[in-house]
Amino acid sequence: MTLEDVKRTDSGRALMLANEAIVRGALESDVKVVAAYPGSPTSEILDTFSELLDHFGDYRMQIAANEKVALETVAGASMAGFRSLTSMKSVGMNVASDSMFSLGYTGVNGGCVVIMADDPHAHSSQSEQDGRYFGEAAYVPMLEPSTPQEAKEMVKWAFEVSERHKTLVIIRTTTRVNHQRGMIQLEELNRTEFKKKQWKDVREQYFTVGAVARRLKAKLLEKRDNLREESERSIHNHIDAAKGDIGIITAGVSYLHTKEALRNLGLNLPILKIGTLFPLPEKRIAGFLRTLKTLIVIEELAPYLEDRITAIAKDANSDLRIVGKRSGHFSEMLEYNVPIVEKVLAEVTDKKPSHDYDAVLERASRLKETLPQRNPIFCPGCPHRGTLWAFRQALDRLKIRDKIVFNNDIGCYSMAFLPPNEFSDSMLAMGASVGLSAGMEMTLEDKIIAMVGDSTLYHAALPGIINLIHHNANVTLFVLDNSVTAMTGQQFNPNSPKDAGGHPAQKIDMEKMFEAMGADSVTVIDPYETRDCINPVKDAIEAEGFNVIISRRACALYGDRIKKEEGQKIIPSENDKETCRGIYACIKEFYCPAIVVDESDGKMVIQQDLCDGCLECRKVCPVDAPHHIQVER
């Protein structure tokens, strides 16, 4: 399968996810150091490198505590003269950007490439953030591919550009590129041995401040001009020639939607496809604009290209009509597809779309009127379900539901905002729950409660926690310790005794850490002993000072994987209908997808092929009706 294809040493063809093609491109470029923190839609880049680590044995890799550390790690390796790569999701760049801007000034040594993936539609992100502005703002070149093949080629070119100009290079993707699987042409793999170097052989200076910064800035502008020439020559900006004075400029996945929409309309319009988002090939763009009366700019999210092209058009072709977002034809929201693009192209060229897409959508939404929603939900066996249940019970017993603020954070537990919990007063960005708590604790009479996962704890919550303790804050902190970074695919983190490739790593001792920082209390609970969790949670909420509850139990998916590796069976549960009194605590308060109702007698039934056998539902049941089945499956 595809992992096997990534390993191949020959130059055949293969079907690959773009994220795997990115890994392959880096391997073909003889990448030597990889560091990353997971985040959709980039996680498979980290996962693939991790799985291949021992197979190749000639690159080094770390799963970093956060994106800033990951970027600094690969930049450090680059300063030591090694080719290195990191990947992060859109909002990861916000975290990494402090160092990223400085690296723009200092430059790097060995080829240093950053994959940054935006998520139009916010499929799995807090926002539809458009990261294309980072390149320009930091004077760091930025490329954007459309297909897996192009992603691989751009990675290779990025390493070359990075070394030629001693600059970081960012490759910006979007979800529909990262998660696109297509045919790619492999090139031979010529890996070299990993060998440490000596600083004296590679030494350069990498600092920027005051007068040095001003000197570096002047050099940076020169570098930008050189990079502009690189963009003008690049094969990654190309024209699909055609006759006519209506033309298109587009980039990324929008290029693919555009080509298919044109085919559907039987149209052939000239297209300038942009691969270098920064610096833009301004001369080529100007030349293209001069041949046109009307330009259609097709890009998702902000009018990044449109605004820059409009500025170029002022001199190159001031009469040009520009169709885009500012003209009201395209939205700054959501992702695009063929129908969205086709409709605009049809309108501008006075044609009819190949299908009545609106009618199709209308009919479908009528048919779906009574379809039950399928919200994201905790997996069967998820420890978060039990923790949140106990938390709710504690609040009810204390009768303080309306006297607390609950600051949620980023992870699977974010789903606390959905039924049956439906509480969350805030949820901004990784680690933000503790920072917000400081401001609220200062200004509100309510009890302030924050909740983070183990990965979030070490990613960005620590400074906020230290800040709370330092200021003697009266806050209760929940740490949901499920051993891994669950939401993005159960990667290891500083709370794991393992690192990339399953290599041993030092697990941070969480209790000792909190004690050393000066927490007033640290209590460990087991969410599978759901009922027993209520009292300790109550105590921690009632207590004055900074009190920590660590809810510890492995992520169910991760736990199942370990069980499978160890040859252990998962024993599902069943509901004893004789005992069951139809109280429905398991249904109303628990929302486990393995649980359904038997319509004939109204009793709860556990779907055994979905059940994880955690028996949290037994702990929630006032009469202990669920129990493990007798026969193993």
Partner: protein, 207 residues
Amino acid sequence: MKDSYDIIFAGVGGQGLMLLSAILGKAAVDADMEVLTGEQHGLSQRQGSIYVHFRMGKPISPLIPYGTADMMIAMEATEALRYIEYLRDDGVIIMSNRIMPPPGETEEVALDEERKTKYVTVEAIEKKLREITENIVLLDSLTLAKEAGNPRTENSVLIGAVCSCKDFPIETESVRKAVLDLVPPKTRDANSRAFDLGRDAGGECLG
């Protein structure tokens, strides 16, 4: 003529949709066809709604335009309806009769003291799907999988049924080979039987 043969896969997280897509991908590549997919990775929880856009021939975009997919393969019945906007009129639907009720629906059914609120049924779903197409292969995939000797071979039942579809562009034996290459070696026999059972059942439905 269309330039591509497009399939929309639908199902629930944990059902093995990605394996299904990998199997057809391998079959297509081995048969020298171009493949392009738009997949949904991301949130890793089970039991969410998931889909794959699977395109063969000369597609350009990774996403199938609304109303143009030639086939839908649904591993769960309500998920077939959830992505129905992608299927063309008279397209083929290969679907399991399995329904996995979301907890919100279970709550409504359980808490109705008069017991009037019922789960959505396969029949109700099928009736709506029939407004788009009569070419529906509704499979009791779990029963057929058990008949094949392994309840975990439901994927192969569905893939077998796919091959019973006359205009499906990959040869049956190439698809079978891809199935057997990608399933765990110990389950090959059961998967091969499941494949046949699915193909026979599909043949009966589509005539």
